[in-house]
Subunit: 436 residues, 2 copies
Amino acid sequence: MDRPANATPLNRLSARQVATGIRRRAFGIRDVVNACLARIRERDGVVRAWVDLDEDAIERQVSFAERTGGPLAGVPFGVKDVLDAAGWPTGMGSALYRGHAPRYDAGCVGQLRMAGGVVLGKTQTCEFAGIEPAPTTNPHDPSRTPGGSSSGSAAAVADGMVPLALGTQTGGSVLRPAAFCGVVGFKPTYGFHAVSGMKEAAHSFDTPGLFARTVDDIAMVHSLLMNEAEPELPAPAPRIGVPEGAIWDEVTAAVAGALRDVLAELARRGAEVVRLTLPPALRDLAEARAIVNAFERSRDLAGEWLADRDALGPSTFRIVERGFRITGSEYVAARRAIEGARAAASERFGDFDAVALPVTADVAPPGLGNTGDPRLQEGWTALHMPAMAIPVSATAAGLPIAVQLVARRFADRRLLAAALWIESNLGSRQPRAAGD
Amino acid sequence: MDRPANATPLNRLSARQVATGIRRRAFGIRDVVNACLARIRERDGVVRAWVDLDEDAIERQVSFAERTGGPLAGVPFGVKDVLDAAGWPTGMGSALYRGHAPRYDAGCVGQLRMAGGVVLGKTQTCEFAGIEPAPTTNPHDPSRTPGGSSSGSAAAVADGMVPLALGTQTGGSVLRPAAFCGVVGFKPTYGFHAVSGMKEAAHSFDTPGLFARTVDDIAMVHSLLMNEAEPELPAPAPRIGVPEGAIWDEVTAAVAGALRDVLAELARRGAEVVRLTLPPALRDLAEARAIVNAFERSRDLAGEWLADRDALGPSTFRIVERGFRITGSEYVAARRAIEGARAAASERFGDFDAVALPVTADVAPPGLGNTGDPRLQEGWTALHMPAMAIPVSATAAGLPIAVQLVARRFADRRLLAAALWIESNLGSRQPRAAGD
């Protein structure tokens, strides 16, 4: 290895930098993996992002990636433990699945490995991607939640343990932990990324998603999964909608102020920032979403409920019990209501490259017993719209603040282009983790 | 057992008759299961509907159902081998999954077992619910295909081996085998039945479905899965749309004539039968559907492809290879086109309780190397609309002919009510299997 002593440590490189460095032989796959493992050994006693590390399995992955090459050759990534990765058990964050061995990779894991990616291990998840917390802590303050349910994936990327991780979002399980941990989180349009080998939480909403430290990495990996060209650079200055009204009611002054400042800065740099009124159909979405969510969660866990309900965590138990009491006609009415809102939102959002909103009303709250409030994230998931969290600021105590960017369904590339423009104009605003 | 000697054999009873008889103690769960097993032993050497029969596992199911009771207590059912049933391996019709043991029931299997249903075993499926054929034969003529991919479930119900079976439909995998085998097949609105524990084929289209010998059984089981009241009886005379145009171009005189006769009969009995022009958006659906299907199949099998592609059957291999060459922009354009057609079809179909069409252009074709033509079924699957196949006639040689009933999304109960009216006016038109 022939790198200057003051270079970014290998575990802190972006996925693109890792892939490029390996292709140019600036360093080897094993060097990157070792740097990530060293960081994990140093910090995971506090962060608890990983379910377990199997060095033999990692060694097999490294050998495989060295042989196969590919655009992601040597890029280590974490896999949320509701997604299968061959060679690791899939634990689902639940006592019910302890030691459960899948035979093959989940679809999106397989695609990343086909491109040369290296599975470093499974990351902690709330039970069945719900709200029963994982043991993971926030890398910026171990007394605070990292958010959930993709807690381990967000924390591992934020803490420099891995440049890339896979998550899933049914409510706010990618965007909320991305915001709380200060990394970029991306949930594509529903159905765009493969769902095979993913344990269902509520199948009408379940969407695999990505965590990275740069928008550029997200664009690279999403384009690879979709077999499409990356958005062209330089991206044009975007048209950004900013909703008015009730969505801001509970947002703290710190978060609202940070977003106002950032939007003003983007406008100064050439973005068109326009006020927008959300369609009325979105107002009643929360109740319909809760009905579909509980109805489907109960049915998607019917086998587990039948055999082992007493081993479920209390919040999982409660939602399944509640879901089985919902009637079909309530469910169908809720599905119809969501569909109406979906059409209305797609129409209204079509005028913008991205609509900018808070991800969360506040920074990561204290305590590990609750992963935070999903209300500002979950509606867009139910509407099947692509959404991103991008860190834009931090409190004086170093807790990250993010903006949420949402676009109409199918407009993922347009959203990514807008986010790339924002990243190139703002630079990285990720606060360093406490351990740095 | 105290039943008259000329009563319907227990293996030929409907699910409702089984449940009622057991509740009234006319016979026991074990009697029904034994009658089904006897039929399987007698006939499965020819029909080959079952993957394997594990009598110990069945015994455990019987004991469980005797203890728990429930509305389906004692109703034996078959489970397509892409759906998990705890206690049986899930083979996926593929060498790759030989001996693969799931930990829990698929969601819909678990729900049926919670209601007292008895898993009798796994039924043969085309590889990964695709088109690589299962060994199953058509119960009406073992030289002919039973259709696919839910080949074993359709054949088992048709042959009197079990009153009820679960299948899945991504193209025409429930309705086509139902039509070829002469049983009732039902595919609900996309997302209505739980998909957990189901191996994905193409996730935007995959829909679990049901096989039974009566519409009444389908209505009973669907209502149970949805936690809603069964449609009220007597059902009112339905308004039935009959599309004109290209959809009939390749339909044989035998099938077209049988459907014409049946629709005339329904009109005489009070149904309103109205001609209908399909919206133009449906015309170009086939190509868009093929693109989404191949794109998603490749990604949903990415893990299997990476590790063991050479053990895939030739048709599975080809579609995965093709799917990985499709670009993201082709996929997104196809998703958009399907969504446009979905809106158009739902609007047009809203005027009818059911739209009546052929399920297939002809009866089950000779040969076991090909499961038949999916073109008349797959569009409705892509559009997420509920669809049923109901046997209405047979050729002189005893090969079944079915009508397809399709309704707008979310209108499953209205469709079932129309189908119940049809069943009560026509009576059962299922030809007996060759072995009877």
